[in-house]
Symmetry: C2
Subunit: 223 residues, 2 copies
């Protein structure tokens, strides 16, 4: 049995959970508060971040979103979540990087850091300027999602791929806090509603984070 | 013929150049000053960053370090630069992420931003605090390289892989500016000397950046 060491507001952990659900691979979740720098966890992953995917029986530890994404696809090829042709694979990975790097830097990490980590770790008050900046940035990303879905069925092409999983994983973290301006981006909302209705996404929508209720519409398929 | 759109101090562009040299694939280099946000370039890569790998004849555009790394390996499998077994592949990718994400955030991006981009783009003076912080961080990374090479022939195991390429690409950017404290890390230096002596690395050592001479030892194989 696989175990994912995760943290609730880690988009990369959500991505691994959704992908394994798509592949119908069972796994356990273990919450890891990475800032505690637990020696047992650092021994598994010296970088100290989640997700880490562990298969104790096989003595296997896969660390970090890059290795985990490619591992899941190589180890469980059905259904295909990267694409078959060279062009499709490059497009999926370009968009995965768009969300895991650019969206993360410009939106997710700012919002999670200001709204969750600072209060949770008692590291001062949220900086309104950072939250505003993320609030501006997310509009460009939602516009880009609309540009893509105007031309394609899913973000990278005809099929649901890791590009959709990455984008939805990041958006779901921000959406939990009610910080996605869906009302101005109907087409992006339509795409997210389609992701939300997939069986692989249901556990994400049921996440219960101690002491912090999700935004009212977070769980609604029709939001 | 392939073309790499690159920028001299972009470690990810260096990584693509070294990998293609290892695979003995010819390519042209085109300098792209990404901050100019040239429309023709943004049409190729809306994220606006380098490297972008273009094959005009095949009408192929591969954008970003993640897609390019995996494309190079899939398209030109010899010599293998990721590894064969599941464990080896996960280990290479874990370390690629270590350098492309962690080292980049903690060292390369700080030093390049403060020492190169700020003066080049006339965006104020370098922040000494950021340069000092990067100077502390790099020591931990050099120590980690020593930990790995104490146990292994190359960073990820017996063979030279993208882990070594990523690490050396980042270090070479910082080393051009003379900011790697090699004198205190003899074993990391031995590993880097072995990378430096590879034919795939020679073009990197010959880089001539207008208006900025490299540190005295940058090109020396025996430094």
């Amino acid at each position: 049995m696989l175990t994912i060491y995760h943290y609730w507001f880690c988009p990369f952990s959500r991505k691994a959970r959704i992908a394994l659900q798509e592949k119908k691979v069972e796994f356990d979740l273990k919450l890891e508060l990475t800032w505690q720098r637990r020696p047992g966890f650092l021994a598994q992953n010296p970088a100290g971040n989640v997700p880490v995917l562990v298969d104790e029986e096989a003595n296997l530890r896969i660390c970090g979103p890059y290795a985990i994404t490619e591992y899941i696809e190589e180890q469980y090829p059905t259904p295909d979540l990267i694409g078959e042709s060279i062009t499709d694979r490059a497009e999926t990975r370009r968009l995965v990087e768009w969300f895991d790097d650019k969206f993360h830097r410009e939106v997710t990490s700012l919002i999670i850091n200001e709204k969750i980590m600072k209060s949770f770790l008692k590291r001062g008050n949220p900086e309104a300027a950072n939250i505003r900046y993320a609030g501006q940035n997310i509009k460009h990303h939602l516009k880009y999602i609309e540009y893509l879905t105007d031309r394609r069925n899913w973000l990278a092409g005809d099929d649901f791929t890791f590009a959709d999983i990455s984008a939805a994983a990041h958006l779901s973290c921000v959406d939990y806090l009610g910080d996605v301006p869906w009302q101005n981006f109907e087409k992006a909302k339509d795409w997210y509603a389609r992701v939300k209705s997939r069986p692989s996404f249901q556990a994400i929508l049921q996440d219960k984070i101690a002491g912090l209720a999700p935004a009212a519409h977070y769980r609604d398929l029709d939001f």
